[in-house]
């Protein structure tokens, strides 16, 4: 991956026309120029020229980007803004260092599935033991600094046991037609095991044997924070495990993880990483392009709307495939919302570091979802799912958010509540 100074041609391309203002979710919310792409481009240009340094404010400005790439799609000159912001964050991490929290997370917590399991276990106890309700009621969370009260609400409800611990390492499909490796990601593993179950159901029904090699975090949280060293560490492990599993496809049900895995090749520049990235497919992409998918026989009588994750539509160019899958489900009606591909504001850990702003961005999504009258929101990214659910909850709505796979899975299994 390139350094900021090597991306100078990208900075030069920006003509400061201001088209990015019209689409940047953060600018639309705040109307402040440091938040929009051309403001950042101008600042980075001045940084390279030595007219500004890595100050606290500069750090904050560079953190104020969702990496949603909506500006890139609308840029007449094709400036690769996300690349610039990531390069800036990497340089920043070197210049100013990462916070002790992030360092611990990227280098110890996420690099080992055991450590993450332990944390999830603690979180589970916190949420179910009554401690959470005590903490919330006691006023302790308000009393502590860092806006802890808002952030605590964003924690996902974790399952009692990680998804990966509840399934065997290989799920043979009757009459096997394909054999794939499954990258389930941290969110599915700890917060939404239902997505993992749905993945297995859909693959079984379509003759795809699923191998579940050991795996760790894809590295995207570290990349977004500028810690490339951690990404490389994580990537090497994942690449090694999937190679050992001997699969020719790595299928992912998380848009964010998928986009990250597809970038290992460019990021690391090794042949091995390149070959791995070539094997990666988002689950919607895989099902529509590589499997002669037969939807289930059970009708799913409901109206849903679909939210396009940034990491699926703009990072991987996938937006028709999930809709095709939904259209094929008997009984299901898909009603498009306005701004289906507008960022939900989650943006990895952005919703933790800039909680209020993130929820303001999300409020448009909530409104657009509710305007469709849909009975459920479908999406292809567990991170978006968490944000969408919090937004709907804050808006007083009980509309559930589900993964495309969970809808498909219902058509094979019938009945059962979702959400």
């Amino acid at each position: 991956m390139k350094k900021l100074s090597e991306l100078r041609s990208q900075l030069d391309r920006c003509s400061k026309c201001g088209n990015c203002q019209a689409v940047c979710p953060l600018y639309l919310e705040t109307k402040r120029e440091p938040l929009v792409a051309r403001g950042k481009v101008f600042l980075l240009d001045n940084l390279i020229e030595g007219r500004v340094g890595w100050s606290r404010r500069m750090e904050e400005v560079i953190s104020l980007c969702l990496l949603c790439r909506t500006c890139e799609v609308n840029c007449p000159n094709g400036v690769q803004v996300a690349r610039l912001v990531l390069a800036a964050r990497a340089e920043l991490a070197l210049a100013r260092g990462l916070s002790i929290w992030k360092k611990t997370a990227f280098h110890y917590l996420l690099t080992s599935s055991g450590n993450l399991n332990l944390l999830a276990r603690l979180l589970y106890l916190y949420q179910r033991s009554g401690l959470q309700s005590v903490a919330r009621k006691s006023g302790l969370l308000q009393a502590l600094p860092w806006g802890l009260e808002d952030k605590e609400r964003l924690l996902p409800m974790v399952g009692r046991r990680a998804f990966a611990r509840t399934v065997p390492p290989v799920m043979e499909a009757p009459g096997e037609k394909r054999r794939v490796g499954y990258f389930y990601g941290c969110m599915t593993n700890h917060a939404y095991p239902g997505i993992g179950q749905a993945f297995l159901t859909v693959m079984q029904a379509n003759g795809v044997t699923v191998v579940l090699p050991p795996q760790v975090c894809c590295g995207l949280p570290a990349l977004a924070s500028g810690d490339r060293e951690a990404v490389v560490k994580l990537a090497k492990r994942n690449i090694g495990w999937f190679r050992a599993a001997g699969v020719d496809r790595v299928v992912v049900d998380c848009a964010s993880c998928g986009s990250m895995l597809k970038e290992y090749g460019e990021l690391m520049g090794t042949r091995e990483a390149g070959e791995f990235s070539q094997k990666v497919r988002d689950v919607a992409e895989f099902l529509t392009e590589e499997v002669d998918i037969r939807p289930g026989a059970y009708p799913v009588e409901m109206t849903v709307t679909y939210h396009d994750p940034c990491h699926l539509k703009r990072y991987q160019g996938i937006h028709r495939a999930p809709r095709e899958l939904l259209h094929a489900v008997p009984g299901l009606a898909l009603r498009e919302m306005e701004g289906a591909d507008r960022c939900c504001g989650s943006a990895g850990s952005f919703n933790l570091t800039h909680c209020r702003l993130s929820m303001r961005v999300g409020s448009h999504k909530t409104r657009n979802i509710l305007a469709t009258g849909a009975e459920a929101v479908v999406t292809g990214c567990p991170a978006c799912r968490l944000q969408l659910a919090k937004g709907l909850e804050q808006g007083g709505s009980a509309v559930p958010v589900v993964h495309t796979l969970e809808i498909l899975s219902r058509s094979y299994l019938g009945g059962k509540e979702m959400g």
Partner: protein, 458 residues
């Protein structure tokens, strides 16, 4: 910026709407040109009263004030070249009234042009001015620059839609001009004086805008010609047959090749010019008009004419025009976009002269623009990091201005003078023109605190 002044400003507009950190100020140092100037402080007012207080303070202390909206201008008009206060009006963005009975809207200056258009179209009305940056730019900036756009041929420019204004003068008084009537000859026409004054005479804090009924339908055609002369002849013949198109967009051979290399959409690489023609109005009328347009183009030697049969096909025809900007920067990163304008019968001659100028200085130039109103956009492509090339660009630009004036045209059709064309203003308006304009400026802004350095004082 003196601490005492900053404290006063915080008192006027509330602390969080005064920004002093260098990193923040830097992001208010530019517009859509290459001009830059970092303001000493950035202020976001919310009312005309606050604007008046800021200007009174600045006038008393002798601090330059540069009003701006979205900062998408193309003349350097809002760039704080002498530091001072960047007065950002984007927080004043309410649409106060859409009056379907009197066909008008009352708006604050920070309303985004497209947002106003969408709002009035909901009730069947139409605000025609359509500058290229309409998704980002603001009404206040449009009025200050008297912005145009492709639809100007049929519908005119921003000034044709401004009925009245509320303006804060540089000495901090609130002036109301015009009103809510189409006819109004009471006193000097201060509305027109303020429209296009480029932020040198006052800060617009409210505007009464004229609206018209929304046209029922649009038809679009694209015609390919071997030469620019052929295209120009077709433009003239279309109006002789009694048709006034909404837009007549022209792309020259260099532009066509850039777009084709970029999009690979099958544009003819040997073409001399492409015209994009649009007519609007009642459905039966536009159906008939587009047939005539097609016939005229064919009669006058168009080598190919395509008429869009659906909205999707219309989008496809526009795709080439919309991609121009992205396509030409593939050649070189820095784009110097001019807007010299000539009477439309002189368009072929102007194109010839522009090409000669580009050749003389060894520069790459793509010419496109609004053939219907003679407003061409010669874009020179260069590299701003190459000082020798940029020096040639400067010479070419001056020669281009002279060519426009020799052909009875003007320096600027729609971008404004700002700082970039200020040195050339006397060429067009003469000594007397400058004296009259400076006299007006002197009366309204005796201490020259509002947008100093712009237009007249270069």
């Amino acid at each position: 910026m003196y601490q005492a002044v900053v404290e006063r400003l915080k008192h006027i507009v509330d602390g969080k709407n005064v920004v002093t950190a260098l990193e923040d100020r830097m992001t208010y140092a530019y517009d859509g040109t290459m001009q830059t100037g970092v303001p000493g402080v950035v202020v976001f007012p919310r009312t005309a009263q606050q604007v008046a207080e800021v200007l009174r303070l600045a006038n008393r202390e002798g601090i330059p004030v540069y009003p701006r909206g979205a900062g998408t201008g193309l003349s350097g008009g809002s760039v704080p070249e002498q530091g001072g206060i960047a007065l950002v009006l984007t927080d004043m963005n309410r649409i106060l009234e859409v009056d379907t009975g009197n066909l008008l809207a009352v708006v604050e200056p920070g309303v985004v042009t497209e947002a106003l258009q969408q709002e009035v179209e909901r009730v069947g009305l139409f605000y025609p001015p359509d500058p290229g940056s309409l998704k980002s730019c603001t009404i206040g900036g449009n009025i200050a620059e008297n912005a145009g756009g492709p639809r100007a041929l049929k519908y005119g420019v921003t000034r044709d839609y401004v009925l009245g204004l509320e303006v804060v003068t540089p000495t901090g008084e609130i002036l109301r001009t015009g009103g809510k009537t189409v006819k109004n000859v009471t006193g000097y026409d201060l509305t027109r004086l303020m429209t296009g004054s480029e932020g040198t005479l006052g800060v617009i804090t409210r505007a009464v805008l004229r609206l018209i009924p929304r046209p029922q339908d649009v038809r679009t055609a694209m015609a390919v010609f071997a030469t620019v002369e052929g295209a120009a002849e077709a433009v003239a013949e279309v109006s002789r047959r009694g048709i006034l198109p909404t837009t007549l967009e022209l792309m020259d051979d260099v532009t066509i090749r850039c777009v084709e290399n970029y999009l690979r959409m099958g544009l003819p690489l040997d073409a001399g010019a492409i015209l994009l023609i649009e007519v609007d109005g009642f459905r039966p009328a536009v159906d008939e008009a587009i047939v005539t347009v097609e016939k005229v183009c064919r009669e006058l030697g168009a080598t190919g004419v395509k008429v869009a049969a659906s909205p999707a096909e219309r989008e496809e025809l526009w795709r080439a025009r919309r991609a121009v900007s992205a396509a030409i920067v593939q050649l070189k990163p820095t784009k110097i976009s001019e807007d010299a304008t000539v009477p439309r019968s002189r368009v072929p001659e102007m194109v010839r002269r522009l090409k000669a100028i580009a050749q003389k200085y060894g520069l790459t130039m793509a010419i496109f623009g609004h053939a219907g109103d003679g407003n061409l956009h010669p874009n020179i492509l260069a590299d701003r990091r190459d000082p020798e090339e940029m020096a040639r660009v400067e010479l070419a630009v001056e020669e281009l201005f002279r060519a426009a004036l020799e052909l009875e045209g003007t320096l600027s059709g729609e971008h404004g003078i700002g700082s970039m064309k200020a040195p050339y203003l006397p060429l067009e308006v003469g000594e007397t023109g400058i004296r009259v304009m400076r006299g007006i400026k002197q009366v309204l802004d005796p201490n020259n605190i509002l947008s100093p350095g712009k237009m007249l004082w270069g």
